[in-house]
Symmetry: C2
Subunit: 217 residues, 2 copies
């Protein structure tokens, strides 16, 4: 697959020569990255300062028409909070990622990435600003993935809690403290999009970085 | 748009000459339909016998890359149970359908349509059988919509209730009694896929029909 070698790592829409592996890479506040994660490799997503959400999505590297599905994952887990031991499934019911270590064990898979339209509808903000959606779109585009293909993301560390009676959602401060992390293992070759979330109300009022480590050993 | 006039109504994968309007059309058990619903038209989805789920999805008729998004809808409703007065949004944050009348007020938007793979993983059934996914795929295909484009559906009348503490899901008998209905109004020209659900465990153990009325007046 040509895109796999040509554009293995994208930062803020710009291709880098090489993926960082077995070392920490920092996603600056309100930005994102996309990269190839090969089968068997691990992805550790770290909250270095605490209370910061990271949106993750994934596509099959060989056939990006296969995508990470919140609906399938929730159905097979029979649980809306995704945690250590769970498998994340594609729209075709194939395993894409498993969660192999997790110091937090509470991640939202209900809400879509924050976007310009969301900021307008929910915050009343109309000035252009970065969003998880624009950051995912910008970094996935070099892999040939159009913005309309971005599904509901796994919102790592995000605290979204429904009332079981009314279904009303309460969004709390993220579940993560400084140094907390979630580690995934790829079940197939993937294109992964990852952000440091741009929605202040999801991050207890501030924008912080997200660190990650691609483990190849 | 040529597809809009050529294939305005599909039943079990077969095009019909005309959409039924202002009259009841029956979706037989474990089957589905797809049709054009024009802006301002209503769609009343009726459970004629009670405790039967119907899966609904929708795409913009002019640009099917725009699709009904559970994540955007849940985010803007700030609620996981969708009910009268709510608007169903696209992935681009545009209104697609509004719920203008509803005798039930409890519909699931978390789980994906039942599929062959789901029957195998959750029920241990490997023999080929109809599913909401195959019924949606078959009827949307004449509109040029590939199976991989089917998102998380609105599962009308389906009772899926998470524990707010553990996130575990409980699937109960559908919320609908015989004659209950949910009526939508189209906010733009749409391609709609609609089924009588094929998963016995979501329908209190049996397969029943679903009725619908497209209202043009």
């Amino acid at each position: 697959m040509t895109t796999m070698t040509q554009t293995a790592f994208i930062v803020n829409g710009q291709p880098r020569d090489e993926r960082p592996t077995n070392e920490t890479f920092r996603i600056e506040p309100r930005t994102g990255v996309a990269f190839i994660l090969r089968k068997g490799e691990t992805l550790r997503v770290i909250d270095p300062e605490g209370e910061q959400v990271s949106d993750l999505t994934a596509f099959d590297a060989e056939d990006p028409d296969e995508w990470l599905s919140s609906g399938r994952t929730i159905d097979y887990a029979n649980r809306i909070y995704i945690r250590q031991g769970d498998t994340l499934y594609s729209n075709r019911s194939n395993p894409m990622l498993s969660i192999t270590h997790d110091t937090v064990n509470g991640h939202d898979f209900l809400l879509t990435p924050c976007s310009q339209e969301m900021f307008e509808k929910l915050y009343g903000i109309t000035e252009p600003r970065p969003s998880c959606f624009s950051n995912l779109a910008k970094n996935l585009e070099p892999f040939g993935i159009a913005p309309d293909r971005i599904p509901t993301t796994l919102n790592i560390f995000m605290d979204v809690r429904p009332s079981s009676y009314t279904g009303e959602l309460t969004i709390g401060a993220p579940n993560s403290q400084a140094g907390d992390y979630t580690e995934f293992t790829a079940q197939r070759d993937l294109i992964v999009g990852l952000t440091a979330c741009s929605a202040e109300k999801s991050n207890n009022g501030s924008f912080k970085p997200i660190d990650f480590i691609i483990g190849t050993e």
